[in-house]
């Protein structure tokens, strides 16, 4: 029996339904047949059956059947235009044109059900929503070619080639339809198949990361990875290879990036790999105006060991030379199931910040050991402390934390300082010269982005450091501006260039956009920011009794510093 006919009969219906089911499985796996509808110019149907009625009456669609001793031979060609469907508001396709070709030979309806098949599909246009991903298929035209067998309800794919936003080639895939729902079966699919996925990183990143996540995570817009990515099934493990570079705001960030790692599919195994690069240029990611020569600051020629286990990935150790010093860490471990990161043995040795940063007239040397950093909720909390040698004194930074995934990036720390030589700090600034030494702290510092959100600052004269204590007219004027004054010293005061003082003591607290500025030394209702000695000198008195200054006022005052006192300056 042989025939060439338009689609008709139960067998044709079976084939079309099989083909559509296969397509669903491959493209948008769990769509409900009752929700399928077609909205193109030719097709208006609400169910698979109605759709079938339309397909069979379309002259573009063709079915050829032949029966012989070896079974049934079927050739089906379909052109479906304007197909649309949705499972819910997050999963839908629209305006989809599909060209489908199916050839099948064998025993379709016997108990053993054993037949071979060959399938081709192309989608010249359409829109696909799998929230948060939206794909305009006319921009990523693709095709699917596959051949294999169907035996006892299972589909065996001998050869599959998918070309679209990425290419996928697979051999020896068994889709256990009868046992669907059991995840171990999907693992069997991966273990048993030979497959290779190739992707252009730029295109894939733009389609699947940038467009989908740039609203919720704006930083993804700034990154531009380029190169090629290959994932390959190697039996019990997956090989992942990457070659390329990363741009940040269109400028080179990582050059000569290479990754070769392996992910084990079975629980008891761990696989070693590496990530390497020729150069990392820090210039593009650091805000302008911080680094001396940002374009020249980089980290070159490094290889980072990476170990992937079934439930975790770890990388390290890594040591980076930066600013004549070294930043290193022993190991970083990412736990996939908890989505949490643990960093161990972070060390900074001999980092000379002044060689890196611009407008730093002081030598700043950083050393420190942070034995562990671990997520506590959304916050990555560091144990240990950093020691900074600056201006003849010592600054200790403790209780460091960052909130990398917060809506606004935040970080914070507690900072303690002592023996800080004021001359070294002020002599090259526009604040005005002050000599002497101070100690104090910044407790509970919270930075939101690049803005201070909260802190508790105390600065006072360090009595243990024996230095001369002088303060210039300019510094007095600026200090009085900070205290809310006009910043001018009386005529008598102008006769002197500098004055001696006995103590400096200032506390400043920022909370809820309100600064509270106080002098530490009180006498009656007077609050002294700077107190004169027994035999003379200068007093700077805070004339704002509550000491409360709004954030905006403080910004105005800081702007006025250097330009020109309610603060009362007494000269004796």
């Amino acid at each position: 029996m042989e025939g060439k006919a338009r689609l008709s009969g139960v067998k044709g219906l079976f084939l079309a339904i099989f083909m559509i089911l296969a397509l669903w499985f491959l493209c948008c796996s769990s769509l409900d047949a009752s929700l399928l509808r077609a909205e193109g110019p030719q097709l208006h149907a609400q169910s698979g059956k109605a759709l079938w009625e339309i397909l069979r009456n379309d002259p573009n669609n063709e079915l050829e059947t032949k029966k012989d001793g070896q079974g049934l031979h079927v050739k089906l060609r379909l052109l479906i235009k304007g197909l649309a469907g949705s499972r819910d508001e997050d999963h839908a396709f629209e305006d989809l044109d599909l060209f489908l070709n199916l050839k099948a030979d064998g025993a379709f309806f016997s108990q053993a059900q054993d037949f071979s098949w060959r399938f081709k599909a192309a989608w010249p246009k359409g829109q696909l929503l799998f929230f948060p991903w939206f794909l305009d298929l006319s921009q990523i035209k693709g095709s699917l070619k596959a051949e294999g067998r169907v035996r006892r309800g299972n589909i065996y794919i001998d050869d599959l080639r998918l070309y679209g936003p990425f290419s996928l080639e697979a051999r020896g895939v068994r889709l256990p339809f009868k046992e669907r729902g059991n995840s171990s079966n999907y693992l069997d699919v991966l273990l048993g198949a030979g497959w290779e996925l190739r992707a252009d990183i730029k295109r894939t990143y733009n389609l699947f990361v940038k467009e989908a996540f740039s609203d919720s995570h704006p930083f993804v817009k700034d990154f531009g990875p380029e190169g090629s990515f290959v994932a390959k099934g190697l039996g019990k493990k997956i090989s992942l290879t990457l070659l390329g570079q990363v741009l940040y705001k269109s400028k080179k960030f990582i050059e000569g990036l290479k990754a070769a790692v392996y992910y084990p599919l079975l629980g008891e195994m761990c696989e070693k790999g590496f990530v390497s690069w020729h150069d990392i240029f820090l210039g593009p990611i650091i805000p302008k105006g911080i680094f001396r020569t940002p374009e020249n600051i980089g980290i070159s020629g490094k290889k980072l060991p990476v170990t992937l286990c079934h439930d975790r990935g770890s990388f390290g150790p890594l040591s980076l030379d930066l600013g004549n010093g070294t930043i290193s860490f022993g190991q970083a471990t990412f736990l996939f199931s908890r989505g949490t990161l643990v960093l161990r043995q972070i060390r900074i040795a001999g980092l000379k910040v002044h060689r890196l940063l611009r407008d730093i007239p002081l030598e700043i040397n950083v050393d420190g050991s942070l034995p562990e950093a671990r997520f506590q909720g959304d916050r990555l909390v560091f144990k240990g402390s950093l020691n900074v040698k600056v201006a003849g004194g010592m600054v200790q930074i403790k209780n460091i934390w960052v909130e990398p995934y917060a809506a606004i990036f935040r970080w914070g720390a507690d900072i303690f300082f002592k023996h800080i030589n004021l001359k070294a700090i002020t002599e090259n600034t526009s604040f005005g010269l002050v000599t002497g030494a101070v100690e104090g702290w910044v407790k509970g510092l919270v930075m939101s982005g690049s803005q201070p959100e909260a802190f508790d600052l105390l600065v006072k004269t360090d009595e243990k450091a024996s230095r001369s204590k002088k303060i210039s007219i300019k510094a007095i004027e600026n200090l009085s501006i900070l205290g809310g004054g006009g910043g001018s010293v009386s005529f008598l005061g102008q006769l002197f260039k500098e004055f001696s003082y006995s103590k400096i003591g200032i506390s400043c607290r920022l909370k809820n956009d309100v600064f509270e500025l106080h002098g530490l030394y009180r006498k009656g209702d007077r609050e002294y920011l700077v107190k004169r000695g027994f035999f003379g000198g200068v007093n700077v008195i805070n004339m704002n009794p509550k000491g409360r200054i709004s954030f905006r006022d403080m910004l105005d005052r800081l702007k006025r510093i250097g330009e020109s006192s309610q603060s009362k300056v007494e000269v004796r």
């Binding site: 508001e89 696909l128 939206f134 690049s450 910004l555 800081l558 702007k559």
Partner: protein, 190 residues
């Protein structure tokens, strides 16, 4: 024996007195939250679109200069760097959201979050764009409520009350045509 009984009685009495004296005070600063909600929502909704297209500049001292223009808070306002930055983002986003709200596609819920009421008449691309917009806005709103609660020393368990107070302000200032949730599950068009 009698002494042992007296001892037990004494312990029991002390325990009773101690537990009877435990008082849990939960203070919720509703008036302050209401004031914060009024100020923040007013700021976000009334200055819509003015800063569109402005690139934020970042330098070590940029906060000294760039923040002050955007910052108009008095000492009494609940504000900090996080709240200011979130407000700026929401202000910019509102110009994109408002047309959808006016069309009745997006509504203001009782939980202080936006809710998509309908996607009718939108292509898949627009549906995706609107959903992402709403998702980003709700993420920022939750961060805002958390920041306001922290600023007013409100425990995390009370954030839903902060949300409810903000919801009143969002609904009050929602554009005409927007859906608002009057009672749980009961939406009306403004």
């Amino acid at each position: 024996m009698n002494g042992k009984r007296n001892y037990s009685f004494f312990i029991t009495a002390v325990l009773f007195l101690v537990t009877a004296c435990v008082t849990v005070n939960i203070y919720f600063p509703a008036a302050e939250v209401r004031k914060a909600a009024e100020d923040i929502v007013k700021d976000v909704r009334q200055q819509q679109g003015q800063e569109n297209g402005q690139e934020s500049t970042t330098s070590p001292t940029s906060w000294l200069f760039s923040v002050s223009e955007a910052h108009a808070a008095s000492e009494l306002t609940v504000s900090n760097a996080t709240i200011r930055q979130l407000k700026d983002r929401m202000k910019k986003r509102f110009s994109s959201l408002a047309p959808y709200m006016k069309r009745g596609l997006v509504g203001e819920g009782l939980n202080g979050l936006l809710s998509i009421r309908s996607l009718a008449g939108l292509g898949l691309r627009e549906k995706a764009a609107l959903k992402k917009l709403v998702e980003a806005e709700n993420k920022d709103r939750m961060a805002l409520y958390k920041a306001v609660a922290q600023a007013l020393n409100i425990p995390a368990s009370q954030i839903s009350r902060v949300q409810a107070i903000f919801a009143q302000q969002w609904q009050k200032t929602a554009p005409k045509g927007a859906f608002i949730e009057k009672k749980p599950g009961k939406w009306v068009r403004k």
